[in-house]
Amino acid sequence: MNKALLALLLFWFSAATAQTAGTLADNSNKPENDAGKEVLPELEDLLNQQLHQLPANTEISAASRVTRSSSDSMAVTHVINDKDIKQFNLRSLADILAQFVGITTREDSAFTYIGARGIGRPGDFNSRFLFMLDGTRINESLLDAGLVGHEFFVDVELIERVEYTPGASAALYGNNALLGVINIVTKTSSKLRGINTSVSVANNKAKHARITGGIRADSGSDSWLSLSQTKLDNIQYPLINIPPHLAKWQHLNEEKSTRLMLNHQNGGFKIQAAGSKRERQYPDLFAFDPNVRPLNAEVDNESYLLSVSFDDRISDDIELYLHASTHGNDFTRRLPVVLESGALLYEQRLNSGRWSNLDSRLIFLGLADHELMFGFDYQRDHRKKFMAQYIIPEPTELNFLADESRYGVYVQDLWRWSDKLQLQWALRYDDSDSSTPRWSPSYTLKYNWTPQHKLLLRHSRAFRVANFLEHFTNTSFDLPIPENESTHYNEASLVQNWSPSLSTFITAYQAKIENLISQAILTPIYVNTIPLKSQGLELGFDKRWANGVSLVASAAFQHSEFSGGIKVANSPEFIGQLRFSAPIGSPDILFSINSHVVSERRVLFQTLPSFASHDVSISWQPFNNMSLALGIRNITDKKITEILDDSLIPYVQQRRQAHLSINWSWGQ
């Protein structure tokens, strides 16, 4: 393994050196034309020019539910864009989220969980984050789960940027926006024009291929269609000390995920369709006879989304957004059972959800110094179904079926008191068939003492309603449904741009969470916990140098405990992240290091050790239509273990992996 890695590194080194020599010869002077004028780059070249400074403004939308410039934003929002995804060889949405300050990820090779702000509840399926795709809510409906692994229906290579606004945001978004809002923005055909393909392979036999066709019509309408597939063979068991007689069946542990996505935009109208199918097979080791090849258990996940939206200015004073979408998600697990007669049957479990969303919002600028927004969200859960078929001890089928309507109405006003002082308030009312109504207010004060330095003070509330699993589990035991989780959240942030090449942020937060919904120990029911306090400090800086070198670093110090001083599970007190990248002689070859440090964390009676993990990658763009990337994840092969649920089984996280990917376009 080490020799193979070394060979790959040497290959890249020689390629880089050759490219450097060529570039040094080519760029000794500024280009001039025959008339002695400096040659002005063509439009295409200008689009490819890298900014070696931090831009004065970027575009973000997660913080205010409407697109705003970063300098005008009323909350700190962190962004990872397509260049970061390519440069740091990020292969899934979970990889992208792990780059954000204070976020940790944990996986058991079937599902990836994320935690932040001292809260990483075992088995919460990421339901304390709100996930959006181009502004459309995409948490699935049964568990309100956020799918961030291979089951996510957007290939990461189609992502333009991912925005993360940490903190409680229910005043705008309602349910689930408890720890943060994550908005995934997809690319347009300007980056996917013609035929665009990519292929990647990894030393652990993971393979990925994508083909995308995009077209921009003369009228300006924009369409692209993309198909991609990821295949993982011989997946390493994520468990410690696998006995050799079980390990020999590891080749039966495999996964295939396929994604299809269509995007069409014409003026203010946009149509989006996406679907994914994930098929996972693994040997059923519980029914294992060492002399017989084990039967495979099967896990399938199918999800889809179809959405239509209109977003435009309809008069000088009014912007309108209308959105309708329909979604589905089916999760099926089939476990083989061999009866005494020799007959093969399957025990099956199905989680099936079908739901539709209608959203609208209106921005009104008719009042001087005010930016008013009114909005209405409606979700109809057509079907929430949980079905379980058991064969042993006797054939049994359990069915839980429900439907539900949920809606929210909100208003937000941004009041520009003066050039230096702005106040934003928002208020939202939510109600649904299965829970009590709730009001969620939010107040933010922003003080810019200079255009480069701003202080943000925010107070908000957020909530999470018991999901279908928590709901029917308790009702099936004739127990009351857990109360809504609620949080009172306070935050102070200082964002400072010290120079065009250096910016910093510091955020101090404090949250009081009441009625946290948690699975009871030793019994399969859900209860509300005693109150919990979470407080912390997040800080970071972004530095660029004129030669193209950049360094982004962040640190999160967090402390969470229940009343009485009981520590919260999966809550590391320190999370550090660092991303460094630098051109090797030429702007076309970039060398990058991505490091994570996580302190020790407790889960019930176990303490998991701290760790530092480092990823290294090199990307090279030899031609405008071709790029290559080589990445080595967890280069020191650190053994990292995480506990994901109350079973207390430690799962081994990804060991060292080398990836090579090639991206090629035609007809751009």
């Binding site: 050196t17 921009r216 090797i584 702007p587």
Partner: protein
């Protein structure tokens, strides 16, 4: 050995990187000039182009420097606009770092004049600028609003539309 290779790569990475290295405002000025080349004004077309910049003195300086470097002082000039008095003299108006309300004010001042309005904020673009020149963390890209351009009698070349990140 891996550590040695990593050290070598780190060492290489601190070598100076070559290639054109424009500041954000120099890049915006270059885009602005290219936009004017790919735009067509309603008849009679302007004999000389009057560029105007609002809200960004460094951008004004960058446009001046570009016109000088390209020997375009005879056919083009640039004005910095502290107020809206002269705004109707502009052929190309760059609204820099303006929010929704500020953009609305400037657009109301030019009424239906055939002025190519470029904004560098998404608020400015959504509020009625014909071209939005928006930065992400690494690059600048632009989007085009054909409806607003047509309303003012301006047309854009197919090349410009092809390269835009979004056309509305």
């Amino acid at each position: 050995m891996i550590k040695a290779c990593l050290f070598l790569l780190l060492l290489l990475s601190v070598l100076p990187s070559h290639g054109q290295n424009l500041s954000e405002n120099e890049l915006k000025a270059a885009f602005l000039y290219r936009f004017s080349q790919f735009s067509k004004w309603p008849p009679p077309p302007p004999h000389s182009l009057q560029f105007c910049v609002v809200g960004n003195h460094e951008l004004f300086k960058a446009v001046s420097a570009l016109l000088y470097a390209q020997n375009l002082q005879q056919t083009s000039s640039v004005l910095e606009m502290p107020s809206s008095e002269q705004v109707k003299q502009c052929d190309v108006l760059f609204l820099s770092q303006q929010n929704r309300q500020q953009t609305k004010y400037w657009l109301s001042q030019i009424e239906q004049s055939p002025i190519l309005v470029v904004a560098d904020t998404s608020e400015g673009f959504r509020q009625g600028a014909m071209i939005g020149l928006i930065a992400d963390a690494n690059n600048l890209s632009f989007r085009v609003n054909l409806t607003d351009a047509k309303r003012r009698g301006l047309t854009f070349s197919a090349h410009l539309l092809k390269l835009a990140s979004e056309v509305r």
